[in-house]
């Protein structure tokens, strides 16, 4: 049949680099770079074998966790971490809300928008550990530096997501409330809040999770809490206590994840 006149094959044309020579050259260059890069890592096989041995002891400690001999340290570290987590999350949320509203283009004048977006950018561009090192240097060892670190990091996270959420909120609902003669605050309360509140609650709970995990990490650089306890245990080669601490952290994160899932379903 004459249908055979149509071609029977079709190939997807290259989308990014059209010249075949360049494509081949780039592939070769990538492989060469990879080989050289791996070659430049100086591997000390003796260190590796010691490390593996330690790792094994660590795993053994993990399998036989010792909750008892360092119980007092663990309890105080844990309560410090939980306090730090909770207070920093609450304070972070309270500061994030006005900044998030200020950073929503559809609600605020240009200068306010730019200021709030810069605050968010600064907070997001600094990793928690770097902030923690800096704040520990400023305020000394202990949970206060940790509290400040986590509160600051919470602002970058929550304010950005809140602002993006507000910008995506239905503009007709905002217009409808504005058209009734409502003031700016009334518009926030009646048109914005109902649209973004459920997600804000979900994100806050999620941030609580993150802050607890981060509190363990920043403890290692001196910001107090369970991280400091963990660090001490590892320094003293008490891997059974360290294993216990890790198990507790995992359990708490799992419980809080489960609870926040329930709450999120409930507020929807």
């Amino acid at each position: 049949m004459s249908a055979l006149n149509y071609p029977r094959h079709w190939k997807r044309p290259p989308q990014i680099i059209h010249h075949p020579g360049w494509r081949r050259a780039l592939s070769v260059a990538a492989v060469v770079y990879l080989v050289l890069a791996i070659g430049s890592l100086e591997v000390d096989w003796q260190r590796v074998s010691i490390g593996l041995e330690r790792g094994q002891r660590f795993v053994m400690g993990f399998l036989q966790p010792d909750f008892v001999s360092r119980q007092r340290d663990i309890v105080s570290g844990l309560s410090e971490s939980l306090t730090m987590t909770l207070t920093s999350t609450v304070v972070g949320i309270l500061i994030s809300i006005p900044i998030g509203i200020g950073a929503a283009r559809n609600l605020t004048p240009r200068p306010v928008y730019l200021i709030c977006r810069s605050i968010i950018a600064v907070s997001r561009s600094l990793q928690e550990i770097i902030i923690a090192i800096f704040l520990v240097a400023m305020f000394g060892f202990g949970p206060f530096a940790g509290f400040l670190t986590l509160a600051f990091a919470t602002i970058g996270f929550l304010a950005k997501l809140l602002a993006d959420d507000i910008e995506e909120a239905s503009s007709t609902q905002l217009e409808a409330i504005r058209a009734t003669g409502a003031s700016w605050w009334q518009m926030i309360n009646y048109a914005v809040e109902p649209q973004v509140l459920p997600r804000l609650i979900g994100l806050s709970l999620y941030r609580l999770d993150i802050n607890f995990r981060e509190s363990a990490v920043i403890g290692i650089v001196g910001a107090g809490g369970i991280g400091a306890t963990l660090n001490t245990a590892i320094d003293r080669y008490e891997y059974d206590s360290a294993g216990a601490i890790l198990l507790i952290i995992i359990a708490i994160v799992m419980v809080s994840e489960y609870v926040s899932g329930l709450v999120r379903k409930w507020v929807q």
């Binding site: 049949m1 004459s2 249908a3 006149n5 149509y6 239905s170 007709t172 609902q173 217009e175 409808a176 409330i177 504005r178 058209a179 009734t180 003669g181 409502a182 003031s183 605050w185 009334q186 309360n189 009646y190 048109a191 109902p194 649209q195 509140l197 459920p198």
Partner: protein, 271 residues
Amino acid sequence: MLTIKGLSKTYRTGDSALKNVSLTVPGGQIIGLIGPSGAGKSTLIRCINRLVEPTSGQVLLGDIDLTRLGGAGLRVQRRRIGMIFQEYALVERLTVMENVLSGRLGYVPFWRSWTRRFPGEDIQRAWALLDRVGLMDHANKRADTLSGGQRQRVGIARALAQAPELLLIDEPTASLDPRTSRQIMRLLTELCAERQLPAIVNIHDVPLARQFVQRLIGLRAGEVVFDGPPEALDEAMLTHIYGEEEWQTNAPEEDDAPPAPAMPEARALAS
């Protein structure tokens, strides 16, 4: 009474959506605003309550020029103008009652609206309106649980809760089935008649408009090209507003046919 004088709107994109529009809406009159898509109907309505900033011209409600107001002054005048939207524009996570009461926001201070403690007479008015639109039993439901027709009735109740002196209605029936559309149009015309309330209704459905309004205004490319009673809108006028089209039958549109295939066997092969 609403008077529009020489109203023009050019969007930042360069679209000239309204060109020197002038018209007067006396008390108690419902005006149907018709015209093809992009003619500027929504722009005209939104320029009146300044959801869109007009480029030039005057909008007089009574003897107050709305185009000169800003801030608090504008808010006070917006209370006098109720607006009803095509997609209802209810705040979906609020209850029906909260949506109706939000029509009072321009009248109550922030702390009262925030704590949901509206004055007794506002609440009474809201109940009366809910009863009038047939939604007494739905007051405490969330708005997103209602059907389209019910939502639009909440939208109407919210607009009337403002005790407005003018209603702006942007395609109230475009998302509704034909029967519900009719019911909504009937409800709107009755409510306006009860209150001697003037209204401007954007409407795509010309037969529906003919049935329910006393005066039609035809807009084409931002200009008023027709202003008169529905009886005066004949076929020649429709063509003038909407462009060439067979109005009586549904003739197939030849412009929209796809181009002929390159090889004659295409049809057999494709089917």
